[in-house]
Structures are given as structure tokens and as C-alpha cells.
Symmetry: none
Amino acid sequence: MVTNERPLRSDARRNRAKLLDVAERVFAEKGTSASTEEVARRAGVGIGTVFRHFPTKGDLLEAVFVARLRRLADEADRLAESADPGEAFFTFFAQMVRSAPEKNALSEALAAAGVDVTETASPIKDAFRTSVSTLLERAQRAGAVRADIGFAEVITLLVSASHGAEHSFTAPDVQSRALAVVLDGLRPRTGG
Amino acid sequence: MVTNERPLRSDARRNRAKLLDVAERVFAEKGTSASTEEVARRAGVGIGTVFRHFPTKGDLLEAVFVARLRRLADEADRLAESADPGEAFFTFFAQMVRSAPEKNALSEALAAAGVDVTETASPIKDAFRTSVSTLLERAQRAGAVRADIGFAEVITLLVSASHGAEHSFTAPDVQSRALAVVLDGLRPRTGG
Amino acid sequence: MVTNERPLRSDARRNRAKLLDVAERVFAEKGTSASTEEVARRAGVGIGTVFRHFPTKGDLLEAVFVARLRRLADEADRLAESADPGEAFFTFFAQMVRSAPEKNALSEALAAAGVDVTETASPIKDAFRTSVSTLLERAQRAGAVRADIGFAEVITLLVSASHGAEHSFTAPDVQSRALAVVLDGLRPRTGG
Amino acid sequence: MVTNERPLRSDARRNRAKLLDVAERVFAEKGTSASTEEVARRAGVGIGTVFRHFPTKGDLLEAVFVARLRRLADEADRLAESADPGEAFFTFFAQMVRSAPEKNALSEALAAAGVDVTETASPIKDAFRTSVSTLLERAQRAGAVRADIGFAEVITLLVSASHGAEHSFTAPDVQSRALAVVLDGLRPRTGG
DNA sequence: GATGAATGAGACTTCATTCAT
DNA sequence: AATGAATGAAGTCTCATTCAT
């Protein structure tokens, strides 16, 4: 089935992309309570244009989150093709957490992914879930990750760790060691 | 050092306590964007009274956080007296995380504790740091907690895990397993 | 039963009255689509003050209508005490229609009265209904008004005629003659 | 006198007619505050097309009114040929009022007719005036309608009664009796 | 001529904060 | 000290109108 939405005019498509891009940056800097006006201003468009593309501030936020999820799923897919499943999984986890500080509210995006699977069936959320699950299962089969956790636990930990990492005042080495703790916890208990 | 603030009139003292109590509940229920007006209403005082005690909404939020910290430090002190240092530490950690959901934004309070040490030297923050550090060091000396982390890492993990736990839509058993991962990560590596 | 709303502070009462007064004039001049901002400006208060007294524009409009109804009911009561029931009724009807031009949307207030009796049971609407009904019944008993109509028909005609009269471009004598037609129609058919 | 406007391209003519048709329905349903955008959407054209045909929302509204007037004038003309002048007049009056509910704001169209004679000399308005006047005069000559009123009074009453009838919450039988009152008022006084 | 994206003034509403009572 | 009315900046959203495609 083909969607019946005709493709946007080129200028509109450009504006939409620009808005999404700017919005991501603005929300990263000031949190999700940043005003729609500021997004419009920094994108160089009128406030009405924002509204046309995203009828509600919530819609704009959701679009930003979805865009992020899409990129994260892509990254997971890329890593899934690597030779070492364990390394692939831990790399993905660590990368996400390390990139969190520069994108405030990434954790919300992730949380949204974990949640709405039950409510709004969104293709992107499904794709993200599939990509991460694949990464996880391969690592578990390879014995690199403990077997008693699933997608939900991984997301919860990812959300948590990302959130912790968003607080820029924590020193980088503290972040590293805290992350190491979580990663160690994800490994199977040796000599258990 | 003695503060030069004269003691509050008895009704004022009562109002202040009541406000703090109500504010904690309100912010827990609706997040920190709940209105000052609602706090006043539910405390049964005029809005002017809130601002007399806490000249700024930020001041009110901080006071709530400090009150929480004080209670947490007390709890840490109580546990520090128990016989098993390892169990004391893990109990403290788990208790805090499990109680997070019912106090929205607790993580912010904790984050604030980690932070402001550099800015505002607050006696309560210092006390909290001392209490938790004691708990940690005893557990480490007893070999129950890995030795390569300190107060900062623990707080970061606590903030993270609490935040993850605040999202009520995650199932309790998922929360438990995610918490278990972090706790396991905190233990020394066996057979290393 | 006493309402549990404590009386307004004197300055608030003054402002409320002023706002109602100004709002009535503004809506009369520009129709009900006049902005709340303009009401605030002409009342010499901040926009927030309007909101405090009338949380919604709809609330403000309703308050204006209710105030009008109250005055109309009072006028009906005053006339009900006059010696000639027929004259009382026709005077009331004519007065209302003649005063309509200077209060745009009076008809809406009246329509509201006719309507909401079924929905929102408002004391003022009930009072208005009672007052006008009394006036009507006395005139009918005196043989001055045809017997086959009731309150509902009178209100409908009043609303209609008032609306017609609101269009200021119609010459006064045309208005008079049109009103005369309606009044004649209300009289019992002679020699029927 | 010939207008120097070149004839519209066939698709443009079709669009114009469609727009007028849709606009009448939309304004009837939602009142004149319905958005121009909705008219465009339901007509299946771009918003730009609406503004090309009617440079202003006011222009669109006026065009709708004019179209209505034209149809009303036609109806008046048709009735003017019937045998009974009195019945023709009353039928016309009653028909208009009865059809008012389904065309919200018809009264405004009529009011516009009464008015703009002085401002914009529109052929259609003149035609309407002539048609209704003819209907009225014939009925008066036949003794079916009182002689002391003219076109202006009839329009005023028509506008009034139509407005009253537009309020859908009034029961149909109430409407009927109210209309009967006006019609009776239009008849010559018997036994005067 | 048709299209629909962009515009931006302006409407309503919220809320932290001030200040007269 | 307490009160709560007043304030007004700021936020979200709407919509008539313009203009590049």
C-alpha cells in the first residue's frame, strides 16, 4: 500500500529538514521546554511555517525523536554486520551513552521508543526495537552478554545511563567509570 | 558561625514546613513545572506567603531537594551502623532507586547534590556526601563493592538508575532486572 | 444554602464591575469577536486581570449576558406593577427592541435565555423567564395579547425584532413601523 | 454598458461556481467565521485559487450573499405570476423564514440587501428589491397586506424573523406560532 | 491560471512575581 | 506576616493573505 500523501514541494522539504535539524539542536541545548518561536527564528522561517509542518509542539518533539531513533537503528544495523557480536553490542551501548551529553533529552527519545510500542505502533519504533534486539541476541548467543535480560532491560539501562551522562557537570572520567560498571553488569557472571 | 537570621514566628515556621511538604508532593505528582499557585492552594496559604518564604520558584525547588537530601543522608547514616557493610550499601542503593518512581524528579535532587558542591557549599550537601561515602568505603573495605569507583561514580549511577525508574510505564520486573545489572556491575569482578 | 465563595476584595469587586461594564460596551460596538485585549485596555487593567475574573472569553461573554438579563428582568418586574397589564407588556417589548441597537448582540443574550433553561439551570435565567411570563400572562388575562402564545414565542419574537433593530443602517421610522407590525400581530384578532 | 473583463477560462469558470457553491454550504454549517482554507479544501482547489477569484474573504462572503439574493429574487418573480397576490406574498415570506435555519446567516445576506443600496449599487440587489416590491404592492392592492408599510419594513421583518428561525434550538412549533404572529401583523387590521 | 508553502499579526491562555490591603 | 489581586511577558496556535513554483 502506498501512502496517499503527495511528496512535499522541494522548498517545503528543505524547510522541514532544516526545522527538524534546528529543533534537535535547540531542544538539546535548552531542553524540551525551549519555545517553538526560537526554533522558527533559528531556522530562519516564520512561526507559521513551523506550525504548518508540525501542527503541535508535541508533533515537533515527536518528529525529532523519531529522526533520532531512525539514526540509532541505522547505527545498530551497521554494527550488527561486524564480526564480533559482543563487541558490536557493547560498542553500540557505549556510543549511545557517550553521545548523550550533546543531545539533551536523548533519553526521552529512547524512553519513547520503549513505551509507545504498546500504544502507537510506529514503523520506526518497531525498526529500532528489531535492530537493537538483533544486536542483543547475537551478543547473548556469543556468550558476551548475560542471558537473563531482554530488549526492555537494555533500553531501560540505556535510558538511565544516557540520562546520567547528560549532566554535563560530571567529569568525563567519572562518566567512563560509571559506564564501565553498567557494562560489567551486563556481562555474564563468571565463576558464578 | 551563627547566621544572623532571627528565628521565624511560630506560624511562619509552621507555614514553611507545610509548604515544603506540600511542594514535595506536588512536584512529585506533576513534575517541576507544576505551578507555584497550586502549591499555595494545596498548602492552604496565599500565593504571597510562598514567595515570602521562597523568593523564587527555584528557591522552592532547591529547598525541596535539600530536604530530600537530608532524609537520604539520615537513611545512609542509619544503614552505616548495620553489621553487614556490603548489604548496607546495596540496600541503600536499591531503596533509593525503588522509591524514585513515587518522587518524580528525585534524580534531579541527586544530580544537584553531585553538582553544587563546586558552586554553593551547602552543609546538607556535604553531609550527604559524607554519609554516602562512608557507606561506600565500608562496603569496599569489606570487599563487597569494587574498589575502582568513588562517590562521584555512585551518585552518577544512582541518578541514572533513579531516572530510569521514574518512567512509570516500565514494568516492575523489568526495573528489577535492570537494577540487578547495575548492582552486579558494582560488585568486584570474580575470577578476574 | 450559602455559597462558599468569600466576597471579593473591594478592589477586585471594583475591577470586576468595571470589566463587565467595559466588556458590555466593547462587545456592543464591535460584536462578540472583539478581543479580550481590548476589553482589558479600555478597562485600564492588565490582560491577566481579565483572565483572573473570567478564566475564559466565553465566561466573560456569559457574564455580560447574565448582567443584561438581570437588568431586563428587573425592568419587567417594575412594569408588572403598573395598572394597565396590556400597556405594561407592550411597553416592555417596545423598550427592549428600541434599546437593542445600542447593545449589539443583545439578541444573543436573549436567545441564551430561551435556550439554556433546558441546559444550564441558571437562577438569573429562571428569574427572567418568570418575570416575562408574569408580564405576558397578565396581559393575556386582560385581553390585550392573543392567548395562543407563550413565553417561548415572545422570546423568539423579541430576539428577532431586537436583532432586526440592531442593524443601525435601518432608518428609525422603518424600525418603528416594523415593530408596529409585530405588536399588532401580538394583539388578539378582532372580529375574527 | 459592457464590462471590460475578459471571459473566464472554462476551468476558471467552473472553479468559481464550485467555490461559490461550497462556500455557501460551509458558511451555512459553521458560520461566517469558517476558514477560507476549509472552503478551498472542500472545493478541491488550492487556497491560492480562492484568493484569485475572491481577493478577500469579504469578497467571497459577498459573492455568496449575492448568489443567494439572485435565487431569492427568482423565487419572488416566479410567485409574482401566481393568481392570488396575497397568498403569493405570504408564501414568499414564510418560505424564506422556514428555509433560514438551513442557511446560517441568511439574515445577513438579506440585511446586506437592505443596506448596500446606498453604498454599492449592485444590479442584483436592485433586482431583488424590485421583485420583492412587486410582490408586496400586488398583495397590498389586493387588500391582503396592510398599506402602511413598504419594502424596507418587509425586509426588516424578514431579516428579523429569519434570524429568529436560525436558532435551531427553538422548537418548530414555537417557530410556527412566532411566524404566525408576524404574518398576522402584516395583514390589514380588520374592524379597525 | 492553479497551487500550496510561507508569512506574521494577533487571539487566547498561563504563570512567576510584585504590591496594596 | 499573610493575603490574593494585579501584572505582563511569553507561549501555543489560527488564519487571512502573499508569492514563488
